[in-house]
């Protein structure tokens, strides 16, 4: 097997899950967002989002801060440097593997 394609097996499985990947991508682009925005933007259910955010927080990819805007409580999520590195590493590996698969003679 092409060694570049074998890289797929080494992808970060925590990032590879679609809901978690979507959360990381939204946070990377937006900077920081609250629970409600993430839920609406990704079309997630409340329980689904909570469980995936918890996994990302446990891995240190996302930090969750409870703060107030005016008198309203907000659960604000943002990407950590570790999460940023994990996402960019994941996308780099995946793109390389997909390119190798599309152009096997070039290897």
């Amino acid at each position: 097997m092409n060694p570049q394609i074998r890289v797929v097996a080494q992808l970060d499985r925590l990032v590879h899950e679609p809901v978690r990947l979507m959360i990381l991508m939204i946070l990377q682009g937006a900077g920081e967002a609250d629970f409600l925005y993430l839920q609406r933007e990704g079309g997630f259910t409340q329980g689904n989002l909570s469980s995936h955010l918890l996994k990302l927080e446990e891995a240190g990819y996302v930090e969750i801060e409870k703060k107030f805007k005016g008198k309203r409580p907000l659960t604000v999520c943002r990407l950590t440097p570790k999460g940023e590195a994990a996402l960019s590493g994941y996308s780099r590996r995946l793109v390389r593997a997909l390119q190798a698969n599309q152009n096997p003679k070039g290897q």
Partner: protein
Amino acid sequence: MNKNTAMQIDSPGRRAAAYWFVDGLPEILFGLFFLIPFALALASKELHWRNWWIRSVIIVVALLGYAMWFLHRRILSFLKARITYPRTGYVRPPIDFPSQNHPHYKILTLGTANPADDNVSSFVSHTIPLICSGFFFVSFLEARWGLPLVMTGIAAGIYFLSRNDARPYSWRAVLPIALVGFIAAALDLGQEDRLLVPMVIGGAWLLGTGTWTLVRYLRAHPKPNAGQEGRS
């Protein structure tokens, strides 16, 4: 997101930037910033108000307008915390800046725009100076037809400059600026009064556009009940 946008906003950062304008509040605020002082100044000239207290009110309103300019982010943050965030959530507000396609973008941001470097808006730097430029162009064109010409130029400028921005305007959205310019030209205004008209029209247009957006937003997203609010 706004369905009347002239382009497809797709990246998460650009969607976050567009979200800042989803409720029309920035447009309402800047609309008031232009409309109140300049409409009062125009009215005072037209109605020959000479009373000292009316002049004082105009000065106070003008000063409040300048305060609004410097505090606009805080005012918007205060309003959005009560209107927008409980309904549709919070996302980091965009950086007010020239477009990422601007040649000096990387230098001017000094890297502070990363990693959310798509969450940027040029609304303030493109729309507001264009409306203000009407003052100078009308002063050069003394003829009565100068006003519709300038207003058409402002409308075209806003349309073209906003095309790649987080808050794009369709040609239909900017058309009223040009049309009202023709109506204003039909009024018997002196040259000094005509100088104020672009700001009054621009302010009224921003206020009208923002109010229309806010009404549609509030109708689409009724106030959540206490249980739903607690989640955010």
